[in-house]
Subunit: 490 residues, 2 copies
């Protein structure tokens, strides 16, 4: 893109002033519409060192109400961030509905930097490009406006700016080693940048090359393109998008109705196994911690199926400094205002840690589907989005274990009645549980579809037969141990 790009002619001073004035007013007006329509706008500013990304952001935000935007300057990843998946720190910063986030450098800078430093080979680069394309597509598919700007200056201009900054003590600190390195290896960088821009220039989130030789002119280009992008996005409220076919390898799974629920375990055997397995899990947890393997255990299942007790038998074996349980209820307003996967991205464990989710991102294709909390297009699209999410986790090196805790309808009724009739258990049963029970068939068919479509070979579902809760606990422990042994090579 950079090689072919011919800059628009810079307008004269007078026209520049007039158009700037106009574009600023327009952005000021558009921010109200963004708010009103709940449009989230992610603005990514990438480009050459000293090209003026930061100062342009500074100028642009003067036209926006401070309640409506955030600016994030992305430096090199912190220690903490390095222990999360590559996309984590970007996903964590996506804007709420109705607001802007401006990123001063982002995933392009990180990837091209890694390529230039020889940290990413061709295969690693290709995998990063896949991640980025999925990430951006998941955002735009879910109604985000993603505007990507590349600030372009030529070698001479960059050198001139570096020299000017270096000459003065007050400004010389602003010149980074990386800026100087870039200028020395301008052509090499240009090639890597250009390839990246070509590889990620998709029509749903295209690149805009900004001629950044003059700051005012750069500002005008960004303002005008930003307004244009917002206009287009505002016209496309409640957009349905094509459903991508799953391209991940799937495991063949039984339907819920085919699962025998008569499996039991004797009390004595249970106690013996429990002790043995918990001890083993504790050992493995230590090794995981040292090898820095992150583990994600996801629990879904029928109400009263015994999720809570099952989770306790897992966590009871773990060092409390190395795990966290996330109970997932309906989303808070600030969570609802973002991509539905955001609250899970931000709850990921660090490497070496275990995160247990009591209910999960699968709410999208169960309760949100059945209660109509999202559109049909939304939940139909979600199977693929979830497979992509879990692929990201597995590629990062995580172990992902998903449990469906299963009982039949009669067993549920028994347990509901028992809860209802036992004063100290009454808090465990609500009207909503009874209402959900009425929708058993709809749930069963949704769960069947979910299990079929998201049992990827890298993150398949495991069914825990839980009419005998003890049986289910032992089975869960065995599966967790087996998966951890696999990844630890034992």
């Amino acid at each position: 893109m950079l090689k072919n790009h011919v800059e628009q002619e810079r307008p004269g001073e007078e026209e520049l002033g007039r158009r700037l004035e106009e574009a600023r007013k327009r952005l000021g007006a558009l921010q109200m519409q963004i708010k009103e329509h709940g449009l989230p706008v992610l603005v990514l500013m990438e480009g050459w060192g000293t090209a003026g990304k930061g100062s342009t952001i500074g100028k642009i935000i003067r036209n926006i109400d401070p309640r409506f935007f955030k600016v994030a300057t992305m430096a090199a990843p912190t220690e903490e961030e390095l222990r999360k998946p590559f996309l984590y720190r970007y996903f964590a910063r996506i804007p709420e509905a109705g607001k802007f986030t401006f990123l001063d450098s982002g995933w392009m800078d990180e990837i091209t930097g890694d390529v230039l430093q020889g940290k990413l080979d061709d295969k690693g680069y290709a995998s990063r490009i896949d991640s980025v394309k999925r990430f951006e597509r998941q955002l735009t598919d879910n109604g985000y406006l993603v505007m990507k700007f590349f600030f372009h200056i030529d070698e001479k201009e960059q050198r001139k700016r570096l020299d000017a900054l270096l000459v003065n003590k007050d400004t010389s600190w602003r010149v980074s080693d990386s800026d100087r390195w870039q200028n020395k290896h301008y052509d090499k960088c240009l090639k890597v940048f250009d390839r990246y821009l070509d590889d990620t220039n998709v029509s749903t989130a295209p690149w805009y090359i900004v001629d950044a030789h003059s700051r005012k002119w750069a500002q005008l280009q960004v303002l005008e393109m930003l307004c244009q992008g917002i206009d287009v996005a505002l016209q496309n409220k409640s957009l349905a998008v094509p459903l991508l076919q799953n391209t991940f390898p799937l495991e063949k799974m039984p339907k819920l109705g085919e699962i025998a629920l008569d499996k039991t375990i004797e009390e004595a055997e249970y106690q013996e196994e429990l002790d043995k397995l918990q001890k083993r899990l504790g050992e493995l947890h230590n090794r995981l911690y040292r090898k820095r393997v992150p583990v994600i255990i996801a629990y879904e299942g029928w109400d009263a199926a015994g999720k809570g007790g099952n989770i306790k038998r897992i966590t009871g074996a773990l060092d409390p400094r190395g795990f966290e349980v996330h109970p997932i209820a309906s989303p808070e307003p600030h969570e609802k205002a973002r991509h539905y996967l955001w609250r899970f991205w931000t709850r990921l464990p660090k490497t070496g840690h275990i995160a247990v989710f009591d209910r999960t991102w699968y709410g999208r294709v169960m309760v949100e589907r059945i209660e109509g909390f999202c559109s049909t297009n939304d939940w139909q699209r979600a199977y693929n989005e979830i497979n992509e999410f879990e692929k990201e986790l597995v590629d990062w090196g995580a172990v992902v274990i998903k449990f469906w805790v299963h009982i039949d309808k009669d067993t549920q009724l028994e347990r509901f009645n028992e809860r209802q009739n036992t004063p100290e258990k009454q808090w465990k049963i609500t009207d909503e549980d009874w209402r959900n029970r009425e929708k058993w068939d709809a749930y069963e068919s949704a769960v069947n579809e979910m299990i079929q479509k998201t049992s990827t070979t890298y993150a398949p579902w495991h069914i825990l037969e839980s009419v005998d809760k003890k049986y289910a606990r032992i089975k869960a422990l065995k599966i967790v141990i087996r998966e951890l042994e696999k990844v630890l090579g034992e």
Copy 2:
């Protein structure tokens, strides 16, 4: 995609029957909505030989009113088609609004075939992929639904089918050499197919892999995915799409107001030059014909600027068997029902021929823009679409020459009045001409924007100063001769 693809489980006979019934009904109902909403649907069926593309199309269309669809079986390109750009025969077959076109093999088959036969090197392949992605994006950006199916069977199944066909005289003719070759080189083909599917799997026109081991099941998959795709498209009426930034190299052009219009030529010099230049052009036309170079000359300009007379001086020099003039008026209903570039794609010259367009595809960014015949998003997007269109022509080997025939407002008034007052010229002046004249300023600003944004280095605009029509004719002849000499290496 093929490597990772895990087939959905084929439902049992009973469920299959029920779902087929349902999907057929649904398609039957959807066709009325397609008609009503004017949605054009292009269905591309690609895949392995003997996988059942044709027979599936046969089954699908039974559910559609014959007035609403066309089926095109794409064999190898004809002699005639080989003398047009690669995309020509596909663009020519795009459906009208409210109708289906089913293509039994298409551009994928042609490209992968050329790769397998060694006719396309890596560079040629990359350029084809660019063309295809632009083509599909231009369709979906302009409201087309593009559904792409790949019919997948494994090597053994293909061999079994080939054997079964060959054993019987009545069916053996249906086995092509290419089918047999494919089966012998199954793995090689798989690799090429897979790469193509990956390279062109975009979210606006994704691929659907169809498990084609059973015909009924294949039919159901296509029917269900087709219905789903139509549902999504129907929800997205009047969709605005992001504007892609121009990535083609541009020439710097003057504004209309800066052009000196006082250029003239003496009568004697005019006659002498005209004779000489026309003779030269005639010679070059012969050579063009032999070298099979296609030429496209596009005329735009103010009313009464002298386009007609200018064109005559060009065509007067040409062998009538080797050129055609296309006067472009407002589109006919069947043209309006398709992508606005369709009527130009279908009027392209054969190699060795010259096509002169008296008004052109630039109507999109002039009259259609100013009269509101298309949306703002439509004409803003068109600059890039037009640059892509002309790039396709130049890559094919065509010479593309674009003239803006220019006069000032006073000269137009003089000529209008002269026409009005000269009985034999009155037919040349209409009320519409006067109405357009009132919009001179809006047109001037649209033309300026058009010239700035579409003067690519490979197809720049040439301004013909036509207050002295003779001067403009000589200038046009000289430019055409210069461009033809360039391509002929003279």
